[in-house]
């Protein structure tokens, strides 16, 4: 099943993003843990696009491809500069509290919970996608 939605380029549009995911994941009876991971990956990638590509189009195209074995989540962002979330340096999660700095944790979480993270950029169109295998 393939579905897509245009989500406004705003952190305030997260509710719209979550509602889209909830509707589609529920309809396909995706288990709770997998759905949690898809939600988390979606928020981290979406908010990264919002923050890094503020001059882009008004909305970000969000696609979901749910098959019996896996879920592919895809964001297509138009009229933006390149930004590969996979290039974000790894955070050291063993750093003590006083040395912790903001940034990088979201991409670290995405890398940890999904099975594949992909990125492409062509003609000012950025596509970032993840694949999460279903439990």
């Amino acid at each position: 099943m393939q579905r897509s939605a245009k989500i406004a380029r705003s952190v305030g549009a997260l509710e719209q993003l979550f509602n889209f995911l909830e509707q589609e994941l529920s309809a396909e009876h995706v288990d709770e843990k997998t759905a949690f991971c898809v939600n988390l990956a979606a928020e981290e990638l979406f908010t990264n696009l919002v923050r890094h590509n503020q001059g882009g189009a008004d909305s970000i195209l969000t696609g979901l491809d749910i098959s019996p074995g896996q879920i592919e989540l895809r964001f297509v962002d138009r009229d933006v500069e390149p930004f590969d979330p996979g290039s974000v340096p790894e955070v050291d999660i063993n750093e003590p509290l006083e040395k912790r700095r903001p940034g990088g944790l979201g991409v670290h979480l995405v890398r940890s919970i999904v099975d594949r993270l992909s990125y492409s950029y062509d003609n000012r169109e950025l596509t970032v996608s993840v694949i999460k295998k279903r439990n």
Binding site: V11, N39, L40, E43, I93, N94, L97, R100, L109
Partner: protein, 94 residues
């Protein structure tokens, strides 16, 4: 939707979804915390790196004055996120 309420015996109850759109609200509520507290997470359904960032800021502020925040009653999913972030070394988790 996120709710943070203050209970008795230095308890703080957090409910709902702690995503990036809730950061300002959460920071405002947690700014009222000035002593050691236990954060009850039984009804916390979701947390992202934005929510984790708020918890770290609160913990840093509290520890600067010799206080701390302890987390309890986490769901398995929330606990896993905290562990992936290395927060089990920053917070006492019951």
């Amino acid at each position: 939707m996120l709710e943070i309420t203050f209970g008795q015996d230095n308890s703080v109850i957090i409910e709902g979804r702690f995503d990036a759109s809730q950061v300002d609200l959460a920071l405002a509520r947690f700014n009222e915390v000035t002593t050691s507290v236990t954060l009850y997470c039984e009804k916390l359904q979701y947390i992202s790196s934005a929510g984790l960032g708020v918890l770290v800021r609160v913990q840093k502020r509290l520890m600067d004055s010799g206080q701390r925040m302890k987390l309890t009653q986490l769901s398995p999913h929330i606990r896993e996120v905290l562990e992936l972030a290395g927060f089990d070394a920053i917070f006492e988790i019951e």
